[in-house]
């Protein structure tokens, strides 16, 4: 034989010492430490080359030109590396299951991104003459048509910038409608205990007092308690359906009738519309007004916390009060924007310009991709996935309610009783297993809530892996290994962070002084 033993060694060495070592740099392989952008400054360095400056005299009037801003100077490659490294410290839907209940972290199709970047949508100024933006207005009208058809409602506004903004819009419309009837004695909004915090915050912001409606033992609104509170002083009910426990409000039609009989309006928080889209039209449930989170049901990206988009649909009774602007189609087929409230019933304006156009394009692209048949399948699969997770975990964890759930399943922390392990600890241990945790401690109506929403874009194999991990953690907790949980997560770029210190002495920005102190300390 010809014995060639040259080149690199190919054995994997010994796995005998597999503990993660301290490194010289603090980096750990693909996890690279990254200083603040302000700590990478070098005067005179710049990441852009600008066009030539025309030689003209300044026309700033009495205002002095500014001497210094204080921004750091970096070249383009440094900027690319900075943000790339930072991105690698984030968990994302693109990397794995993100079962945050009530947040609907589903796959974000890239076609939507491509469509939103077509210059005909992205490079159009909001105040261009209408004759030059007919396609943009058409897109808004078409999105509106999809939303009103899917909900069975009469009218829509696309203006609100997010779900909470949509809630505000809906409550303002309700108040306008009461005022238009001369009915000014209605000072209360009823909100179930299980509601998302934005509901009471919105009602209070609009000048209403908030009355909480208790839940029954099966996690729904207590119908009798609700009826007892309805009266001539109630302006409306804000109800999430399916609710924040992941349950459909069985009595919803009766609730709507009771609300209407009392002369009040029925606001539905549509945050969980994804569970029923294509299968149930909210108008058929007696709902008068509902916001829709395009970033939940229709998959526009969450972007680390926004931008959202919260169109609101209205029944006939509230339709006249929609805020400006809105699109109307003329007899000749052209589109026109109504931008001034004037003396009409429109209640005002929610924000600058016409709404979150970039989100409209993405949402419509998603809707068209699924179509009427596909959206129905979306609801089916979302509900099936959640029930599968529920069924697979119910013997080792404690479901809060009996029966099937909708798009998300709710557990409480009874299964952890006496273990010394908390809901938070389970969440942090799940991070080490490579999953984003579920929503914790919400809704408030159960103790130590764990709310799991897998969404329809997860495969069965992916769910099985998640279930296996969570079952093992539940069993480990019960076996008395609390220390393991309390030290989690161990494998992340940072371990548990001191929130108390952050809140006691808030450091909310970098300052040059802090940098100087740091150097002095070293």
């Amino acid at each position: 034989m010809s014995m060639n033993n040259q080149g690199r060694p190919t054995d994997i060495r010994s796995a005998s010492n597999s503990a993660v070592p301290d490194t010289v740099t603090g980096n750990r392989g693909l996890q690279i430490e990254e200083p603040l952008i302000f700590e990478q400054d070098a005067s005179g360095r710049c990441g852009v080359d600008l066009p030539e400056m025309p030689a003209v005299a300044s026309r700033l009037g009495a205002v002095k030109p500014r001497a210094k801003v204080g921004l750091p100077g970096l070249a383009e490659p440094q900027v690319v590396r900075h943000y790339t490294r930072l991105s690698q410290k984030n968990y994302a839907i693109d990397s794995g299951l993100y079962p945050l209940g009530s947040c609907t972290m589903k796959h974000n199709p890239r076609l939507n991104e491509k469509m939103a970047r077509l210059p005909g949508f992205s490079d159009v100024h909001p105040l261009q003459p209408e004759s030059t933006v007919q396609g943009a207005l058409e897109l808004m009208a078409e999105l509106g048509r999809w939303l009103t058809t899917l909900t069975g409602m009469a009218a829509v506004t696309l203006a609100p910038a997010a779900g909470a903004h949509g809630e505000m819009c809906g409550i303002m419309a309700i108040r306008s409608a009461h005022e238009a009837k001369g009915d000014t004695g209605r000072t209360k909004i009823l909100v179930p205990e299980s509601a998302h915090g934005t509901n009471p915050a919105t009602a209070a912001a609009c000048g209403y007092s908030v009355e909480a409606i208790p839940a029954t033992e099966d996690g729904r609104v207590d119908l009798e308690a609700l009826k007892a509170k309805l009266g001539p002083d109630v302006a409306g009910l804000m109800l999430t359906n399916p609710n924040t426990c992941g349950l459909f409000e069985r009595d919803i039609i009766t609730i709507a009738e009771a609300v209407h009989a009392a002369g009040a309006y029925f606001y539905c928080d549509g945050a969980n519309f994804n569970a029923i889209v294509g299968r149930v039209r909210p108008a058929d449930l007696g709902i008068d007004v509902m916001h829709i989170n395009l970033h939940k049901t229709f998959s526009t990206p969450h972007g680390g916390g926004g931008p959202g988009s919260g169109p609101v649909v209205f029944a006939e009774s509230l339709a006249p009060f929609v805020p400006v602007p809105y699109v109307v189609q003329e007899k000749d087929g052209s589109f026109r924007l109504v931008e001034q409230a004037g003396d009409g019933p429109a209640f005002g304006r929610m924000k600058a310009f016409h709404g979150q156009m970039g989100m409209f394009v993405r949402a419509l692209s998603y809707m068209m991709s699924h179509g009427a048949d596909g959206l129905r399948q979306v609801a089916n699969d979302a509900v099936l996935n959640a029930n599968y997770v529920l069924a697979s975990l119910k013997d080792v964890m404690t479901p809060s309610f009996d029966g099937p759930c909708m798009h998300e399943c709710l557990f409480d922390d009874r299964f952890l009783k006496g273990t010394g392990v908390t809901t938070l600890d389970i969440a942090k241990a799940l991070i080490d297993e490579g999953f984003h945790p579920m929503t914790m401690y919400f809704p408030l109506v159960v103790h130590g809530a764990l709310l799991i929403e897998p969404t329809e874009t997860e495969s069965k194999a992916g769910l099985d892996q998640f279930v296996t991990a969570l079952r093992a953690l539940a069993e480990r907790a019960k076996s008395g290994d609390a220390e393991y949980f309390q030290a989690a997560p161990r494998l992340t770029p940072r371990r548990r962070l001191d929130e108390t210190a952050a809140a006691r002495k808030p450091v909310l920005r970098w300052t040059p002084e802090a940098a100087v102190e740091k150097v002095a300390a070293e």
Partner: protein, 447 residues
């Protein structure tokens, strides 16, 4: 259906595991009267990527992109060049498809970006602290007024006539429903206004815009001092963030709150949204601030890290007592803003601001030479107002036919009033030949 991973076999085996015979069983809580037996009528069925792309591209094709013609629109939305790097980084899935950083151990990327963003906004505005962003400039303005009401425990805001009418209307809409008073000064396209004379013991704040909607640049230092003497907060609105690279910042003029639109940095025109509201305050007001805040702390091993903080101000804890019902910020738009600003740096940002001003001066000189056109402003940054001998809306329409996007008729913002005024902006994207084409076409339309 390309976005749905479950196979028919999966569905069958999962239903078996749940002990349900069909998926309809899972919807048994839906009242029978409201159950649809099949797909909703009136909408098409699913489409492939190619068909969706074709259909939406056709709609996009029925618009005139501002970048395809000489374009001079501003009035709260500005066309700047966005470096290719910005959009590339924004589209990294770890930023694009992450949620609000509720689990800080797996969100340090988003959190550090927010901390840097807050610092950048503080530096630009000359303020002590900034939040992690708002929906847009107009909602930031309304929130600033509500915050001033909370801080001063007074309920009347004086709004300058130079405030962008959309900002004004967003604020007065909130005022009507939330229950505070607004005094709206008349539009003053040519002259100043006496805001102080409106201030009384109930006044919580005075809101001015710099540069104002007509483009005037003003020094509000004296107004700030006068407000302070009366316990009134000065709110300065900025709709063109690039101006902060050249003008004395609001913080140095004595602003208590700055509410600004950040679209100009990193964000495309997008037909009006999504944009990014900037919100900055003096240190002592931080606990009254709406919106999310990111703060620095340490982890269990003593290493620097970041968390959302001071969240007891927010709706998920305070519920009906929250400082605002705001839940989201404009995360991705704030990221784009931050990346663009990082690329620019001190030198690039200040140069960009000077360049914008120089371009506007150049344009004003060319338009001012057209017969019948009068430049209204004695001072401006990158936007100014011209008086025309004909209704501006009509002129704009005629110029659009010639494929020139000439500016924003004041009448479009001021409900039919000020019809002879045209608000014109220039940025680094406008070439001298664009300007010459505009001036030439304007002369023809006016003749």
């Amino acid at each position: 259906m390309r976005y749905l991973p479950l196979t028919e076999a999966d569905r069958r085996s999962m239903l078996a595991a749940i002990r349900a015979s069909t998926v309809d069983d899972l919807f048994r809580d839906v009242p029978k009267a409201a159950r649809l037996s099949g797909p909703i009528e009136g909408l098409p069925n699913h489409m492939g990527e190619l068909e969706v792309e074709r259909s939406l591209s056709a709609m996009a094709g029925r618009n005139l992109p501002a970048g395809s013609v000489p374009s001079f629109l501003g009035a709260g939305s500005y066309r700047h060049h966005i470096p290719a790097t910005v959009d590339h980084l924004v589209q990294r899935g770890e930023f694009l498809t992450a949620y609000t950083p509720y689990q800080p151990e797996v969100s340090q990327g988003t959190l550090q970006v927010l901390f840097e963003f807050q610092t950048q906004v503080s530096l630009l505005t000359g303020m002590d602290v900034a939040n992690a962003s708002m929906y847009d400039g107009a909602t930031a303005c309304a929130e600033a007024v509500m915050m001033a009401n909370r801080v001063t425990r007074r309920k009347k805001a004086i709004l300058s006539g130079g405030l962008h009418p959309h900002y004004r209307d967003t604020t007065t809409t909130d005022a009507r429903f939330i229950g505070f008073e607004t005094v709206v000064m008349p539009a003053a396209p040519t002259g100043g206004e006496d805001l102080l004379s409106q201030v009384d013991g109930d006044t919580s704040c005075v809101v001015v815009q710099n540069p104002d909607v007509f483009g005037h640049v003003r020094d509000y230092t004296e107004l700030g001092k006068a407000c302070q003497a009366k316990g009134v907060l000065l709110i300065v609105v900025v709709t063109e963030a690039v101006s902060l690279g050249l003008l004395t910042p609001p913080g140095e003029m004595g602003a208590d709150i700055v509410a600004a639109e950040g679209q100009s940095l990193g964000n495309a025109l997008n037909f009006g949204g999504p944009y990014v509201g900037l919100f900055a305050v003096k240190e002592k007001l931080v606990r009254q601030m709406p919106g999310r805040l990111c703060g620095q702390t340490v982890d269990a091993d003593g290493r620097r890290g970041f968390v959302l903080t001071l969240s007891t101000r927010e709706q998920h804890i305070r519920r009906e007592k929250a400082t605002s019902n705001i839940c989201t910020n404009a995360g991705l738009c704030a990221l784009a803003f931050s990346i663009h600003l990082s690329l620019l740096g001190e030198e690039g940002f200040t140069q960009l601001a000077r360049l914008n001003h120089a371009k506007a001066v150049q344009l004003a000189d060319k338009l001012g030479a057209v017969k019948g056109v009068e430049i209204v402003n004695d001072s401006f940054f990158n936007e100014f107002t011209v008086k025309l001998p004909k209704p501006a809306a009509e002129v704009v329409e005629r110029l659009a036919e010639r494929r020139i996007l000439a500016g924003v008729p004041a009448s479009r913002l001021f409900a039919g009033e000020l019809e002879d005024l045209l608000i014109v902006a220039a940025t680094e994207t406008n070439t001298e030949s664009d300007m010459d084409a505009f001036a030439k076409a304007l002369a023809e339309v006016l003749s």
